[in-house]
C-alpha cells in the first residue's frame, strides 16, 4: 500500500501543528466558536448530541495492521474502547475530548493517517470496491489511481470551498460494489475498442433529500487525462453550482437542472484547455504509485477449492460463514474474507478495540498485512489462503466477529441516527437491532437469501436507504419517530431508487412490516434462486404495498 514520502509527512505534520494551535487558542478564548467551527470541521471534528465526534480518513478503505492497531489504541486511550466504521469507509470516534484531539492526530500521523477533508465542502475520502486488488472480476486495481486522486484533491486550492461536499467512488469490476452511480463522480475502469484501459465517468449521482442516479458524461478517459478531465468537471461545478441554497448545492442538482448535454459541453470546453497541460499524468508517475500496490507474494498452493457442503455438515456455522463471507480471488488458492460487523442485536459498523487488535493480527498473519473497510460497514481480509480459513474463522469466532451473514437481511447499513447525530430526526440503530433479532435464525436468513436493508435516521440518507432493497427512513412527526418503508432500491450497476410504499410506521411496527415484505417475497418468488430485488422488479410494488397497508 501507499507510503508517505517526505512531502506527505511534512505536510501532515505542519497541518497537525496548525490544528493544535487552533485548539489551544479556542480553549484560551482567543477565538470564538464561530471562528473555530470551520477550522475543526476541516480536521474532521464535529460536535454531536452528546460529545465531539472525530472522523478519521481511511483512504479508499485500505488499512494495514499497524494502522488498525493505532485506531484500537486511540479507541482505548482517548475514547470508550470502540470505533464506528462508516459508509465513506472512514472511522468515527464518538467521545473524544477537545483537548485530546491534537494528540490523537499526532498518533494518526505516526502511522500515516489523518482526518483532513473528512468534513467540509471539499472532495471527501475516495471510496473503492472493497475487493480492489483482489477480485477475480476486476480489470485493474483501481487503488493506484485512487491514490493519485487523493493527492490531487488534498487541499486543492481551487476546490477547498466548493458549493457543497463532493464524493468520488471507483470500481474496476463489471459488478459495482462501490455504488458509483450514487456519487458526485463515479469512475469505472473500462477497455476501449483498442483494448486499452481507461475510465468511464459518471456524474451527478447522490442520495440525500433529492436522490439521483448519475449520468454518463464520458464513456472513456485515458489514465493520463483523468486528472485534467476531473478538474474540468470540478471547475464547471465550482462555477455554476448553486451556492444560494444548501439543499440545491450538490452537483446532482446542477446536472439535473442544466441537463447532462450542456454540462458535458461545458466540461469538454474546459477539458480542451487543460488536456495535455500540467495535469497530464505521466506514465512514470502512474507506475511509481502502482508499485506501492503491487500484488503481494502469493504462494502457488495445492488447495484451491473449498468443499462447503462437507464443511457445513461437520460444522454448520463454519460452513455458513464460508458460504456467505468469501469472495472469489484472482489468485488460485486465495479468497477475500468479509468480517461482518453486524452481530445480531449489535450496532452496525461498531468494532471494539480488542476486535480491531484481533483483526489487525489476522491481517498481519494471514492477509499480507492488508485490510479493507467496506461502504457496507464491514471489514475485509483481502488475501487469505484457503488453507488458512479455518484458523482465521476460529480467531474471528473468539472475537465475536464470525457472523456468516454478509449480504443477508441482518447485514444492514445503518447510520448513527438520533442516538448520536445532531442532524437526525429519528433513531436508526435500535431499528437495525430489532430487525436482526427478529431474523436471528440463520436458517431463516438463508431461506430469504440476498437482501439489503439500509436505514437512515433523516433525509440526509447517510444510511443509504434510497438504495436498500428495503429502505427505512426515520422521520419525526408531532414528537413521535416514524419510519417510511421503501422497496426496490439498488446501489449496484442496476442502479435504482426505492419506491416509498406508504405512510410512516412507529418503531415497534417496523420489524413486523419487514416480516410481511419478506413473506410476500417468499410466497411470490419463482424459485429460491430469484433474489428479493429481482422478484420486486418482476412484481412491482403492488403486492408489497398490499402486504403492508391492505388493498384499500
Amino acid at each position: 500500500m501507499y507510503r508517505y514520502d517526505d512531502f506527505d509527512a511534512a505536510f501532515v505534520k505542519e497541518r497537525t501543528a496548525q490544528f493544535r494551535d487552533q485548539v489551544e487558542r479556542r480553549v484560551r478564548g482567543e477565538i470564538n466558536e464561530d471562528q473555530f467551527r470551520p477550522l475543526r470541521l476541516m480536521n474532521g471534528l464535529y460536535l454531536q448530541l452528546h460529545a465531539y465526534m472525530f472522523r478519521i480518513a481511511i483512504p479508499y478503505g485500505t488499512l494495514d495492521s499497524r494502522q488498525l492497531r493505532k485506531l484500537a489504541y486511540i479507541a482505548r486511550t482517548y475514547d470508550r474502547g470502540y470505533g464506528h466504521f462508516t459508509t465513506r469507509t472512514n472511522i468515527q470516534f464518538n467521545w473524544p475530548r477537545l483537548k485530546d484531539v491534537p494528540d490523537i492526530v499526532e498518533h494518526l500521523n505516526e502511522v500515516e493517517m489523518h482526518s483532513i477533508q473528512t468534513s467540509g465542502n471539499c472532495i471527501r475520502n475516495i471510496s473503492t470496491d472493497q475487493f480492489a486488488g483482489a477480485a477475480a472480476d476486476e480489470i485493474i486495481d483501481p487503488r493506484p489511481v485512487a491514490e493519485i486522486l487523493r493527492q490531487w484533491s488534498s487541499l486543492h486550492p481551487e476546490f477547498s470551498y466548493l458549493p457543497r461536499k463532493f464524493k468520488i467512488a471507483m470500481t474496476a469490476a463489471p459488478h459495482d460494489r462501490a455504488a458509483i452511480k450514487f456519487h458526485d463522480i463515479g469512475l469505472k475502469a473500462v477497455r476501449n475498442e483498442a483494448g486499452d484501459i481507461g475510465w468511464e465517468v459518471w456524474v451527478g449521482g447522490g442520495l440525500g433529500r433529492t436522490p439521483m442516479i448519475a449520468k454518463l458524461i464520458r464513456p472513456y478517459v485515458e489514465h493520463e487525462n483523468l486528472l485534467a478531465y476531473l478538474e474540468a468537471v470540478l471547475r464547471v461545478y465550482n462555477r455554476y453550482g448553486r451556492r444560494d441554497n444548501k439543499f440545491k448545492a450538490r452537483i446532482k442538482i446542477l446536472v439535473h437542472e442544466t441537463g447532462i448535454d450542456k454540462i458535458r459541453e461545458d466540461v469538454e470546453e474546459e477539458f480542451a484547455q487543460m488536456k495535455g497541460g500540467q495535469l497530464t499524468l505521466p506514465q512514470a508517475e502512474l507506475d511509481r504509485i502502482t508499485a506501492y500496490f503491487a500484488p503481494p507474494p502469493f504462494e502457488l498452493v495445492n488447495v484451491t477449492n473449498i468443499d462447503i457442503a462437507r464443511e457445513k455438515q461437520a460444522d454448520p456455522a463454519y460452513g455458513e460463514w464460508l458460504e456467505r463471507n468469501l469472495h472469489t480471488h484472482r489468485q488460485p488458492g486465495y479468497v477475500s474474507v468479509t468480517i461482518s460487523l453486524k452481530p445480531i442485536g449489535g450496532a452496525p459498523g461498531d468494532a471494539t478495540a480488542e476486535q480491531m487488535d484481533t483483526v489487525a493480527e489476522l491481517a498481519e498473519k494471514y492477509s499480507f498485512d492488508e485490510l479493507r473497510v467496506t461502504h457496507e460497514q464491514n471489514l475485509v481480509l483481502p488475501h487469505v489462503k484457503i488453507s488458512d480459513l479455518r484458523t482465521v474463522y476460529d480467531a474471528l469466532l473468539e472475537a465475536e466477529l464470525a457472523d456468516g451473514n454478509a449480504g443477508l437481511i441482518t447485514d444492514t447499513i445503518t447510520c448513527p441516527g438520533l442516538d448520536f447525530c445532531s442532524l437526525a430526526n429519528a433513531r436508526s440503530i435500535p431499528i437495525a437491532q430489532e430487525i436482526t433479532r427478529r431474523f436471528a435464525d440463520t436458517a431463516r436468513q438463508r431461506q430469504i437469501g440476498d437482501l439489503k436493508i439500509k436505514i437512515s435516521g433523516c433525509i440526509n440518507a447517510c444510511g443509504h436507504h434510497h438504495v436498500g432493497h428495503i429502505g427505512i427512513l426515520g422521520v419525526e412527526k408531532k414528537g413521535t419517530e416514524l419510519y417510511q418503508i421503501s422497496v426496490g432500491g439498488d446501489g449496484t450497476e442496476n442502479a435504482a431508487i426505492g419506491d416509498i410504499l406508504g405512510h410512516g410506521l412507529v418503531a415497534d411496527e417496523v420489524p413486523v412490516a419487514i416480516e410481511k415484505l419478506v413473506d410476500t417475497y417468499i410466497a411470490k418468488r419463482t424459485s429460491p434462486d430469484e433474489p428479493f430485488i429481482a422478484a420486486y422488479r418482476r412484481l412491482g410494488e403492488a403486492p408489497f404495498k398490499e402486504a403492508l397497508y391492505g388493498n384499500g
Binding site: 452528546h50 442516538d419 414528537g479
Partner: protein, 101 residues
C-alpha cells in the same frame, strides 16, 4: 416553558443552565423559564455567550410532569439520558470543565 441547554467546550458534554447560574449535567437541575421570564432567559443566553464555553446553545421547550422536567423533543430526551442503542453513559464534565454565568 423553556430551559437553556448546550455542549460544554472541552468535554462536549450536554449541559443545562441551573437555577444558580451554573452549567450542570443534570436536566432536573435546569432553571425553567416561564413565559413571562423571557427577558431573564435572553439575558442568560447573552451572559452564556460571553463565557465562550458553551456551544450549540439552544432554548428548548419543556413540560413539568409531576415536578419533573420533560423536554418536548425526543432529541432532547436522548441528549439528557445518553444514547439508547448501544446504551452508553453520557459524557461527563471534567474537573476543569465547569462553567457558570
Amino acid at each position: 416553558m423553556d430551559i437553556l441547554t448546550g455542549n460544554e467546550l472541552i468535554s462536549g458534554a450536554t449541559v443545562y443552565l441551573s437555577k444558580t447560574g451554573e452549567w450542570v449535567e443534570d436536566l432536573q437541575q435546569a432553571r425553567v423559564f416561564l413565559k413571562e421570564e423571557a427577558e431573564a432567559r435572553d439575558a442568560a443566553v447573552a451572559a452564556t455567550k460571553k463565557t465562550m464555553r458553551i456551544n450549540s446553545l439552544e432554548i428548548e421547550t419543556v413540560q413539568l410532569r409531576d415536578g419533573t422536567i420533560y423536554p418536548d423533543r425526543i432529541r432532547e430526551r436522548i441528549r439528557a439520558d445518553g444514547p439508547t442503542a448501544p446504551r452508553f453513559d453520557r459524557q461527563h464534565l471534567g474537573q476543569d470543565d465547569h462553567v457558570s454565568i
